[in-house]
Amino acid sequence: MQAFTTLQGLVCPLDRANVDTDAIIPKQFLKSIKRSGFGPNLFDEWRYLDHGEPGMDNSKRAVNPDFVLNHPRYQGAQVLLARENFGCGSSREHAPWALDDHGFRVVIAPSFADIFFNNCYKNGLLPIVLPTEVVDQLFQETAASEGYRLTVDLAAQTVTTPSGASFGFDVTAHRKHCLLNGLDEIGLTLNHADKIKAFEAQRRVQQPWLFS
């Protein structure tokens, strides 16, 4: 997994609540058996005017000029600013894969759906929860100044605006450690293999029906 330490990134505002995983990456793209290549189909139904299918040449499709991701001023954005309950719906990890593949490294919202939130950490994507008032303020500032960038420092757990205002955010010590160091979580867990084996052996004795 790619590590995340600090980032100074252009902000793209997506001013909708309850953005679901079907909107982030429509299901026809879930037929892929790969992990990469989902970026061009991120927000496919909002981003293009035609219906997207896997295997199409996306560079030849008509884009929806009104959709924020297509605005010239937000090209190259690495921070997605969103509203509450971002990522609700399915467990598809294709959603963070698509965001990551498009170039986003951070998503900021007042709240996230649980599985999506988890999935982000597994892919070097940092989901940040900030209070609704702060998110409101960031939306206003992004709209007001072109080229608006935020500085995200994971070690310090802060988001800093161009004017120097700084907001703290929460992250569990375990997730922070994994993300800062780009650690493979499976490898970490297997350090506890003996404990898992012992637990399993005991369970087998106590609840044998779970092992038939």
Binding site: R16, K34, R83, N85, R92, F199, Q207, F211
Partner: protein, 468 residues
């Protein structure tokens, strides 16, 4: 100290705990389907790792499989490749059970697990699918995971997790005639919102829940994820135990007795405290119909489409306006005047035998309305299909002009050929009414199987309680 059911399930699976409260949680049952597993199998192989415990895996193909012309196989080459990839992976790795495409016991993973007794009380159950919450009906700690976690579970038989808060949704009283578990689920989501359960594991309790069959409890727990909850669950009682007796993977003989004795402890203790409690009276719940593009946008069949003009919160207001535009609806339209183009009876929410019986009871002796282009009835599994046919339900549907299909996810998410065309309006027994969920531009209204069947016959939504 008095413990909640969730406390008991959690604590009995903790293998290791970090200082920050992150734990390694042991996983008993791993359900696998074709869409979210290929990258996990590949990751495992690339890292040279072996699956930890093959006998924990139960797999089936459901999302991509067609629901008609099975003799022709899977026509879409990309779908076929995904299903064949699962076949190959399971062949290589192994599993306790695999129900491939066309197998007699193939079906939607959340229907297949319970009906085979592969979902047992006290288990942790995971699957790369958000509706894994369904299995909580059996007093399991069951939730959806992403593909990285699928790989993590395969490699280590554990997940890293943090404990959620506990919410009790207590539904007392008695459901009226024609009102179902689906209506309870939608009423709860209407009350607390799609983010209302975020950060919580929900236990459903109260007299109305105790009175539900296992099928009803599964419908309810299935929708817990739509309320934002990590998991939904119902305590064990005699109904749970009776359901499990004699299922293929249920324990037998002496072990059965031992298991039942343990299962009976899987209830919240008297006086256990919850972080949040939501109370509803079952008697006051009417049949529900969603009008928008989120399950929380729901009213009763007797209501009208809400008016954004009455909403003061600007984000909510613009969300309502966008939803109405997408759904092609005018504010204040009576729900019962909304015509439907298609009807879908199926999905892991409502495709079990009881759902099909309920829909057939409404459809019996009627014909679908002329304005309804198609009514798809898609059983949740091959076993459900066989049972329904043994009871003659397929004939009732066919005589009513409905289509009787092969099992699978079908038009719940439209990954196969079953889908809405742009602008088409559907009464659906599934769980998500998001934009494009049932096909790009498609408009979904979530309802119970009874309400869906009634809409098919009337041609528009109609209160099933007064529908003859």
């Amino acid at each position: 100290m008095a413990q909640t059911l969730y406390d008991k399930l959690w604590h009995s699976h903790v293998v290791h705990e970090e200082a920050d409260g992150t734990v390694l949680l042991y996983i008993d049952r791993h359900l696998v389907h074709e869409v979210t597993s290929p990258q996990a199998f590949e990751g495992l192989k690339l890292a040279g790792r072996k699956p930890w415990r093959i006998s924990s895996i139960v797999a089936t193909a459901d999302h991509n499989t067609p629901t008609d012309h099975w003799d022709e196989g899977i026509k879409d080459p990309i779908s076929r490749q995904q299903v064949e990839t699962l076949d190959a992976n399971i062949r290589e790795v192994g599993a306790l059970a695999y129900f491939p495409f066309k197998d007699q016991r193939q079906g939607i993973v959340h229907v297949v697990g319970p009906e085979n007794g592969a979902t047992l009380p006290g288990m942790t159950v995971v699957c790369g699918d958000s509706h894994t919450s369904t299995h909580g009906a059996f007093a399991c700690l069951a939730h959806g995971i992403g593909t990285s976690e699928v790989e993590h579970v395969m490699a280590t038989q554990t997940l890293t997790a943090k404990k959620s808060k506990a919410m009790l949704v207590r539904v007392d009283g008695q459901l009226g005639r024609g009102v179902t578990a689906k209506d309870i689920a939608l009423a709860v989501i209407g009350r607390i919102g799609t983010a209302g359960g975020t950060g919580y594991a929900i236990e459903f309790g109260g007299a109305a829940i105790r009175a539900l069959s296992m099928e009803g409890r599964m419908t309810l727990c299935n929708m817990a994820i739509e309320a934002g909850a990590r998991a939904g669950m119902v305590a064990v009682d005699q109904i749970t135990i009776d359901y499990l007796q004699g299922r293929p993977f249920s324990p037998k003989g002496e072990v059965w007795d031992q298991a039942v004795a343990h299962w009976r402890t899987l209830v919240s203790d008297e006086g256990a405290s919850f972080d949040a409690v939501v109370e509803l009276d079952a008697g006051s719940i009417a049949p529900q119909v969603t009008w928008g593009t989120s399950p929380e946008m729901v009213v009763t069949v007797a209501d009208r489409v809400p008016d954004p003009a009455n909403e003061t919160d600007p984000t909510r207001k613009s969300g309502m306006e966008r939803a109405l535009a997408y759904m092609g609806l005018q504010a204040n339209t009576p729900i019962s005047e909304i015509p439907v183009d298609k009807v879908f009876i199926g999905s892991c929410t409502n495709s079990r035998i009881e759902d099909l019986r309920a829909a057939a009871a409404v459809a019996r002796g009627h014909k679908k309305a002329a304005n309804v282009k198609a009514v798809l009835v898609v059983p949740g599994s091959g076993l459900v299909k066989a049972q329904a046919e043994a009871e003659g339900l397929d004939k009732v549907f066919v005589e009513a002009g409905f289509e009787w299909r092969e099992p699978g996810c079908s038009m719940c998410l439209a990954m196969n050929a079953d889908r809405l065309e742009p602008g088409e309006r559907c009464a659906s027994t599934s769980n998500r009414n998001f934009e494009g969920r049932q096909g790009q531009g498609g408009r979904t209204h979530l309802v119970s199987p009874e309400m869906a069947a009634a809409a098919a016959i009337a041609g528009h939504f109609v209160d099933v309680r007064t529908f003859a």
